[in-house]
Structure formats: C-alpha cells, structure tokens
Subunit: 124 residues, 2 copies
C-alpha cells in the first residue's frame, strides 16, 4: 500500500526543512536504500548513498531558509514547488525548483528529480 | 539536440491555452507520435493516440480558462504548475496540477504526467 498523502506531505516538509537547515545525515535519513537523485535534471543520476551524500553535503552549513509553496500528491508520488533562499554576505540567492519524488510504502524517498536551471536563480 | 528552453516554454503555454479553450485536434497536434499521457498519476498510462484523444475530448467544449503559474525547464524536460478554471452553471471548479513533460528535439510532447488528486479541486 502506497504511503498516505498525509505521510508524503510530512516527508516533503521535512525534506525542505532539512535541506535548508538540517545536517546531511538528517537529509539522508529521509531516503530509502537504493534511492536515486538527479538535481538538476540533466546533470546525471546519483545512485549510491555516497554520491547522494556528497550532493547534500555541499548545502550543509549554508545560511538557508526553505519553504514548500505548492505540493501535489498522487498514488505515492509527489511533485512540489519549493523555495530555497541562501544568504551569502550581502546577497540572497533564491531558487524555487519543482521536485518530483517517488516514495516507498513507509514514506521513504526512492527517487528525486529536481527541475530548475541557472535561469531560475534570482539574486537580490 | 534537445528543444530549447524558449521552445519548451512556448509549447507549455500553448498546451495550457489549448487544453482550456482549444479543440482536441489542437491539443493532439502538440504531441509526438508514440507519446504517453498519465493524468492523474496512478490512473494508468494512455499510450495510443486514440486513448489520449479520448482523454482530451472530455475537456472540449467546457467553459475554461487556463494559466501557467510556474514553469521549470531543464535538459529538454519540464515541470510546471498551472491553473485550470472550469465554469459550470453558477460554480467554478479550480484545479492547479503540476505537470511533468518530456519533449522531442522539435518540442513535441513525448510524455506527460499530471500530479494532482481530488483533494486539490476547489469549488467556488
């Protein structure tokens, strides 16, 4: 039985919060064994825990805030628009990707694909 | 070479406009041969022109307005949040799915998956 929409919504909220301010280990805890990550789409699929950890480790320690803007959930899968604001010195970099995820029956993420490009990065 | 982001953006705008107010033939003209449609995710994949035409024909003739709210494009693929408002008598049904599409090099749609559920339908 697929994870419930309520459970998936909770995991999405946790994911965005942990990507913004959590540790790499906290982000990794949301993924199932054998999960894949492609962020952004076209950059190549990361299919080992080491490769996925390496990706999220680059975000750890940044001064970030995250927010889920719109989430749509169907049949144990989800697509959601979220915003990640990163403060660096006097500048704020804002990126609002659309992520697509699949989940196992326990609500662990089995795959993630992030749709965005450099053209979507805003600096203020 | 994948279709350009500009071309894909144009096709997305055409898709939403034609789903809202175009004919089934106009919608179908945006799809490549062999395209697949799953709307919503979990409802089964339509993989023949007849099955796809049947799906869009149910929308033809409705009093609708459509608008792309947010589109993200990467590597010849796209995810976008859009709103479709359908007027029926005194009521307006508003649905804002997130669609994920792949495109061929000419910008024709090769696959579409729509993320939404009944819980996302708003009546006013």
């Amino acid at each position: 039985m697929p994870a419930s929409p309520e459970k998936i919504r909770e995991v999405i909220e946790q994911y965005v919060a942990r990507v913004a301010t959590g540790s790499t280990a906290e982000v990794m805890a949301l993924f199932a064994d054998g999960a894949t990550v492609e962020d952004p789409v076209g950059s190549g699929v990361r299919s080992t825990p080491e490769a996925i950890r390496e990706f999220y480790a680059t975000l750890e320690g940044l001064e970030q805030a995250g927010e889920v803007l719109s989430a749509r959930i169907a049949d144990g899968q989800a697509a959601f628009l979220f915003e990640l604001r990163t403060r660096a010195g006097e500048q704020t970099f804002t990126l609002a990707p659309i992520d697509v995820m699949t989940f196992d029956d326990d609500g662990l993420i089995t795959s993630m694909k992030a749709y965005w490009s450099d053209a979507d990065l805003q600096v203020s």
